[in-house]
């Protein structure tokens, strides 16, 4: 059983490997298992379109939690929300809060000063991770974060350590330590790396494992996305190789890709100790009917 025994999943990987599709599919599968689930993406630019929201027919998604079904909500982390949540917690008086939130200088400082942009996103995430219901249980049992591409992911997971060196005390330091107690606890949080069954993406995914490990985040496993189906027997493949040797034929690129994908999968399994899940290539982009969701449900052990 994968994914369901954690509280937070960081879905990472380089651009274009299908992080958002995988995050959304895990979220949907988890909600089918009746887990209160929240899938989050990170808005680096205000007002940009939501790739996650688009998967659910809500490209304008710009809120903390937008319900999709009884158990699933999707949301968007942004720095501004984090900043105002933070100012509300730390400033001693309502007048000061109002003045700070109104001040253009404070706003410019928060968006432009070193790391404070990331800090805002981090703080927004922290408040959602800590959100509880009236009976004291967690508002969300599983929070899945569609992380930004490699560099930004490491900037975010490495943020607490860097900032704590600069700011060892005070409320920011407290928030950073609380964040660390969740994100760096392998019982609560795992990163999963999405990659493609090709040589370079596999190498880069292994580098990302090292990067995440350096920032004390546990990597739960890898998801090898878009594994091409292989309908050929060994004999048939050999016959086709001979056939394509003399001339160029349409279809030979796919043959090469199937072969490369197998090599990549076995290399990844050799060089990486944690689970490697391979997801089939799907053409269907509709999430609900998409076989990916059912497939991930099977991996979770919630569907058979």
């Amino acid at each position: 059983m994968y994914f369901l025994n954690r509280h937070t999943l960081l879905i990472s990987g380089k651009g274009g490997v299908g992080r958002t599709a995988v995050s959304a599919a895990i979220g949907l599968a988890s909600s089918k298992a009746k887990k209160r689930t929240l899938v989050l993406e990170i808005a680096y630019e205000e007002g940009s379109q939501s790739a996650l929201g688009a998967r659910f027919g809500r490209p304008d998604l710009n809120e903390e939690a937008c319900p999709i079904n009884d158990f699933l909500a999707i949301g968007r982390l942004n720095a501004k929300a984090g900043h105002s949540l933070f100012l509300r917690t730390i400033l001693p008086s309502k007048t000061l809060i109002a003045a700070a939130l109104r001040s253009k200088a404070v706003h410019k400082f928060l968006t432009a000063a070193p790391s404070l942009h990331e800090m805002g996103i981090f703080y927004h995430l922290l408040t959602l991770l800590q959100k509880t219901r009236s009976d004291g249980t967690r508002q969300y049992e599983l929070i899945i974060i569609d992380m930004p591409a490699t560099g930004h992911t490491l900037a975010l997971t490495g943020l607490p350590a860097i900032l704590l060196r600069l700011i060892p005390a005070g409320p920011i330091a407290r928030a950073l330590k609380e964040g660390q107690s969740i994100l760096n606890n392998p019982e609560l949080c795992e990163a999963w790396i999405v990659t493609l069954p090709e040589k370079l993406p596999v190498t880069e995914a292994l580098e990302l494992v090292d990067g995440l490990t350096e920032t004390d985040v546990t990597v739960g496993g890898m998801i090898l996305n878009r594994m091409p189906p292989d309908p050929f027997t060994d004999d048939e493949r050999a016959a086709l190789d001979a056939y394509c040797d003399a001339e160029h034929f349409f279809g030979q690129l796919t043959l090469a890709r199937i072969r490369a994908a197998k090599v990549a999968l076995s290399e990844l399994k050799n060089r990486f100790d944690s689970p490697v899940l391979d997801l089939p290539e799907v053409v269907d982009t509709d999430l609900v009917t998409n076989p990916l969701t059912a497939y991930i449900g099977e991996l979770m052990g919630t569907e058979s």
Binding site: G15, F109, K199, E207, F232, F250, A260
Partner: protein
């Protein structure tokens, strides 16, 4: 004339823009090699190359200065052309600026010891792009190079790089800096500074607040020089010696991206956009055949079954190829006077020196009538 060849021979700086993951760094490096073959002394400035490409170019250990690429077997040895590569190190560039332009040695060393400064390039959005422009400023005044090829930082938006000076200067804006530094000024200014101090004190604690203020005070002093360099680069970017290239891949976003890029770059920023490189394209497969059981000489049941299974993939590949051909035409229509040049997908081999050499061949030999395997 081949448009890429023309570009190589007539420009002093070529800036390669493009979204992340389209093969921009590989294209930049191959362009450098193609130019070195044309007897140019070329410097390729890469930003965040894949480990393999960095190793191939010899820049994986973050050298302080550009280092020559071993082109034995790649360039005619009697030729005077050469290729050097350098990987952008934002902190190094920032340190040089501090050393050169600080008011005194004492100011420079205080600033370099300030913990906020030590993390500034890692933490300020746009700092990577900002220092890339700064590095270019140094290299264009270096007579060793006839041509500099600048790979831009990876981002979802190909134009991030062009905006970077503005975005970084949102942070590096002197007026903002002044707000953090206690001092004279109008009553409103003093009140704002007090409010900020209060917010910073409760957020960071007084010690970090003082470090921040020290950083702002000392770094602020360098701003006028930095901004001068940036605006000089702006003018230089708009000049005749510089061309911009958009590197894109055949995705659904390619058209929109190109349209946006051309409009922003040419109309708003008045830059010279030479053309679009459509990377990883299948247009080279135009003359490939469909596999067909009728063409087998001797009856072969295994092969017949295999071919009938292959057929669905063949149809899909042909369909993709047709899509790429159409995309190329659409891109050409969009980019107005610019050209569109297609390059094939070389897979993982693209990041080796031999791979770069093969791409360089494609760049100068012409894009048509080549089959790839």
């Amino acid at each position: 004339m081949n448009p890429i060849q023309d570009l190589i021979l007539t420009r002093k700086v070529i800036v390669c823009c493009g979204a992340g993951g389209v093969g921009k760094t590989t294209t930049s490096a191959a362009l450098g090699l193609a130019a070195a073959r044309q007897v140019k002394n070329v410097l390729v400035v890469t930003i965040d190359p894949s480990k393999r490409l960095a190793e191939a170019l010899g820049v994986d250990r973050n050298p302080e200065r550009p280092i020559p690429v071993d082109t034995t077997g790649l360039i005619d040895q009697s030729s005077t052309g050469s290729l050097a590569a350098w990987m952008l190190d934002p902190q190094l560039i920032a340190d040089r600026v501090v050393e050169r332009f600080s008011g005194s040695n004492r100011d420079a060393s205080t600033l370099m010891n300030n913990p906020i400064y030590q993390n500034v390039t890692a933490m300020v959005a746009g700092m990577q792009e900002y220092t890339a422009v700064q590095a270019l400023y140094e290299f264009i005044h270096d007579e060793r190079y006839d041509l500099i090829i600048l790979d831009t930082p990876p981002s979802r938006d190909a134009l991030r790089f062009l905006d970077a000076p503005e975005r970084a200067s949102a942070f590096l804006d002197r007026r903002i800096f002044n707000l953090f530094v206690p001092g004279e000024g109008s009553a409103i200014r003093r009140m704002t500074t007090k409010l900020l101090e209060k917010v910073m004190d409760v957020s960071f604690g007084p010690e970090t607040r003082r470090e921040l203020q020290q950083f702002f005070q000392l770094f602020g002093g360098l701003l006028s020089q930095l901004n001068h360099n940036q605006s000089e680069m702006r003018r230089f970017f708009g000049g005749q010696d510089v061309s911009f290239l958009l590197v894109t891949a055949p995705t659904s976003a390619a058209l929109e991206e190109t349209q946006f890029f051309s409009r922003r770059a040419t109309e708003e920023l008045q830059l010279h956009v030479a053309g679009v490189i459509l990377n990883r394209s299948l247009t080279h497969c135009r003359n490939w055949k469909m596999p067909d059981t009728d063409r087998i000489e001797r009856p072969d049941p295994v092969l017949s079954v295999a071919i009938s299974k292959l057929r669905q993939f063949s149809l899909r590949e042909r369909h993709l190829m047709e899509g790429h051909v159409k995309l190329k035409a659409d891109l050409a229509a969009l980019s107005g006077h610019g050209w569109v040049y297609t390059l094939p997908h070389l897979g993982p081999d693209a990041s080796t020196l031999d791979g770069l050499s093969a791409i360089a061949d494609f760049m100068t030999d012409g894009e048509d009538d080549k089959n790839t395997k």
